[in-house]
Symmetry: C2
Subunit: 337 residues, 2 copies
């Protein structure tokens, strides 16, 4: 579990080379690499380059299409449906999100639903891209089913996450990115790796009993945040990402397949962007000025901590597990052969 | 705490008369009464006619304007800002939501932000109204501040709720309506009335300590659902309802003033409505077929239980606390004088 420090640029270059060697055009490989390295930069390694070996295997086994024909299948200006042709999620979702941004500027609001996509990483990545355009960005995806509905014992909904990003006058946008489970699946992985128990309330074992054993939890199910609230939100996000996109949803979700929904709102259609940002500044100042509980130095707004980590890591490099870096080296060498 | 059974039509007629006598035109009084009685019909008495005396007092004291000039202040077709002129929230929000429905049909998606509004009741009421038009409905409001941000000790965010309603082929839409606190404030009221303790994790006392005393909790603060998740969502909904509307937000929220945001998405721009509903049916069937935990008869989807209660109460009448009905009688008589 030892980390090595790598700089973002060389990590991105290596990741790009790996995806190029899988058959992706350079520009597309760069899109995927940029996403993965940004997740590592922002302190979310579970959505970073640690995923590369899984994606490579899926591409080699044909579960992910490395030369997808990502295309528009329904176009009403501000409402678009796209088909990802089983392409790698980070690429297909990037394209759908870029279209949501373009159409949001043109129409004031836009929604792009993406079907036949695959795991597309951190939802914050997409929402954040709306910010330089003066848009509020919103993104959701359905995930492999890993939670029971409230009152049920069978896994039937994913802990479908969503992200929302809002322009501010600060060097960072306000960004919320959350799964609809009590904790993301990655926290079970961490507990397993460390040999530590998990708190009651995070997960159930395969028989539906509460458990503190992260191994039993991984064989079982996650629990929705706030019970029926998390269940309800997970379901609603599946409605947008799965049902409305024309893709797979609910129990129909396999390991790789998923759908996404990207939405943008043009702030300038409601009030001048500068005025909006000044109001956001006031809101942020209020929160920063909040007295804190014992042991807490400062109250943060969503996305602020991630931005600080990103700034540090851009300067000083990203700590990545040595085993992950070794795997990247091996893959790059293998794919070269 | 004894209930009497009243039929919905006469409760609505009486409530309408009360608001007419406050100076509202009959059509507007009907809108307000319809909202309040629907909340009682759907089993959410905390947003029902129990609120009438508070609204009447606020109207008489001028904190709510009973003859408001509710108007559009910014109009870009699919994006509209309205000013409620401190009118009663149920009326102003109804108008803004009707516009979101009309504009959603015209443009495929629409967002209407409402400023200078007041408490507008159950958000589900608005989202549900989009359903007969083949739209997905979405509504949020900011509320008086009642939660500390994560890591903070001072109340700075409201437990801002949102609702989302989705068309189905069933006699009921799928409707999620949830506050961003662990529990809604009404549950503290119920515990106080019954003299029962509340579970740890619902609320803090005024010194920021966890409490099981519902009285101490009412003097203190609610807790956000899922910690930073609930805090983040509450903040994002304040951004839409408060910051983007040009109304009050954050610490600027007084007891009465609030803002709202209504959004609609036209299903037919993504796929034929019939096809969408058939897909929703499949999703609902999956959930209904889920094996249940001990003591649970059936898994429900959000909004299903409320619809069943509504159907029963339309047939058999609504149980309302006798003290509430007495207060309505008194108010009607007083306002007649």
């Amino acid at each position: 579990m030892a980390d090595r420090i790598v700089d973002a640029a060389s990590l991105k270059a290596q990741t790009t080379r790996i995806f190029e060697r899988l058959g992706l055009p350079e520009a597309d490989a760069l899109v995927v690499a940029d996403h993965l390295v940004e997740a590592d930069l922002r302190g979310h390694p579970s959505h970073g380059v640690i995923r590369v070996p899984t994606y490579v295997t899926a591409c080699r086994e044909g579960r992910i299409n490395s030369r997808p024909n990502i295309r528009i299948v329904e176009d009403h200006g501000g409402q678009v449906v796209m088909d990802a042709d089983n392409g790698i999620g980070q690429l297909a979702a990037f394209r759908a999100n870029e279209l949501a941004i373009e159409r949001g500027k043109a129409h004031g609001m836009a929604g792009v639903a993406l079907r036949r996509s695959t795991h597309c990483g951190a939802m914050a990545y997409y929402a954040i891209r709306a910010i330089p355009h003066g848009l509020i960005g919103w993104a959701t995806t359905n995930a492999g089913i890993n939670m029971p509905p409230t009152g049920g014992t069978q896994k039937l909904v994913g802990n479908n996450p969503f992200a929302m990003a809002v322009p501010t006058d600060r060097p960072w946008p306000m960004v919320l990115d959350m799964a609809t489970s009590v904790v993301a699946g990655g926290k079970l992985q961490v507990a397993r790796a460390k040999g530590q128990p998990i708190p009651l309330g995070w997960a159930l074992d395969r028989d539906g009993n509460p458990t503190t054993d992260p191994h039993a939890a991984s064989d079982g199910s996650l629990l929705p945040v706030g019970g029926p609230k998390g269940y309800g939100m997970a379901l609603m996000f599946d409605v947008l990402a799965g049902v409305l996109s024309g893709g797979r949803f609910g129990a129909g979700l396999g390991e790789q397949g998923s759908g996404q929904f990207f939405m943008t709102i043009d702030v300038g259609r409601f009030m001048p962007l500068d005025q909006f940002k000044a109001r956001m500044d006031e809101l942020i100042d209020q929160l920063h000025g909040c007295p804190t509980t014992a042991g807490v130095e400062q109250v943060f707004v969503p996305g602020e901590i991630e931005h600080a980590i990103q700034a540090t890591r851009l300067r000083e490099g990203i700590p990545i597990e040595a085993t992950v870096l070794d795997a990247l080296d091996r893959l790059e060498h293998e794919l070269d052969g």
